[in-house]
Amino acid sequence: MTGPNATSTCSPAAKMGRHRSKSTSGSTYCNSSPGAESATLSTPNNAGRSSGEEDEKDGGVLFYVNRTGFPIEGVTWERMWTHVAKVHPDGQDMVSKIRNAAYLPKHPVPSVPNFKPSMSVPAWLLAIQNYMKALQYNHTGTQFFEIRKTRPLCGLMETAREMIRESLPIKCLEAVILGIYLTNGLTSVERFPISFKTQFSGNHFHHVVLGVYCNGRYGTLGMSRRQDLMDKALTFRTLSELVMEFEDSYRRYQHTLKKVKIGLYVPHDPHVFQPIEWKYLVLNAARLGREDMRKELEKHGRDMRMKILKSSSAQSPIKERTRGKSLSPHRRQSSPQRRHIHRRDKS
């Protein structure tokens, strides 16, 4: 979500319409929702989407993605400045002040957290979250690291290493990838993506955090403009409690939760070629009541804990996929491997 922030230039964005670029060039202009994390909006059209996300209607401001590495090449660099000059009230003056400054303070490079066996899991997660906070949330309107959600995990882990190397501000999707990388190897902690689609003032916004599960408790890691839409301590006894906590947080900012998508546990092996399963369970919060959502989430949580769920990319051909302990009638109606819950099936 985006709040009333400088990237909310709704007029030019509205005129340009909404589209998702599929170009791989460095100058790609992407329709994205960076601000699915921020709760309020100065204008209705303030969101964006990273490349690779599903093509859904959003009411957002478009933001750019750097696709050509570092140092950032000329076109992308100039585009960043052109964009902020348009959105900031001081415009070009603000830009010139920074770009022409003879001296700029060097933002310290935060130390990468170093796991010690004596550390408790909560302490380690806190160290990771503090590291991400030290990188800062990216408000520039240009995403510095390209995240393609369909990429193999090993490729995304390479991007996580790049994030650490370059040490620049990040947004929610990048934070999920970084969180996965920094929790790899801590086998007592399971990680899975949790995506939110919310609505505010007739526009849709997208956000994602990294769910974590350890020793019977759920929590999250993540980055957002709003403090209560990112990290949550490992204190939630059920997945539904965790999701409801986010729903309550969103409500404080007058966002209505429309959809929740829960992925599968991400393997700890950073060299795995399969992609992350982002949306194994899709819940239409608008149609499901709170109680139905709770039941579906708790079932999914149980299934995940029992490790009986398989990602669609890890499964064999469709015929075999239709057989399975966890398969429900709902799944057959939509796709064999994913559950899209729109209403309770009483059959």
Partner: protein
Amino acid sequence: MEPTCRKDKVKLNSTPTRGDRAKQKSAQQELKQRQRAEIYALNKVMTELEQQQFEAFCKQMQSQGE
């Protein structure tokens, strides 16, 4: 007999030397550092702006509620 004169081929200096590569790498590092400094300076400004707008929005919603 006149000695055969070889045409001296003009040696194309297209292959960067080790020194050139080191200089290029150093220049790239400096550029990255400068870009990083500018990015964080910009992010500070834009974060402050977002916070101001958020606070203004909250006040507006509060007054509307009243």
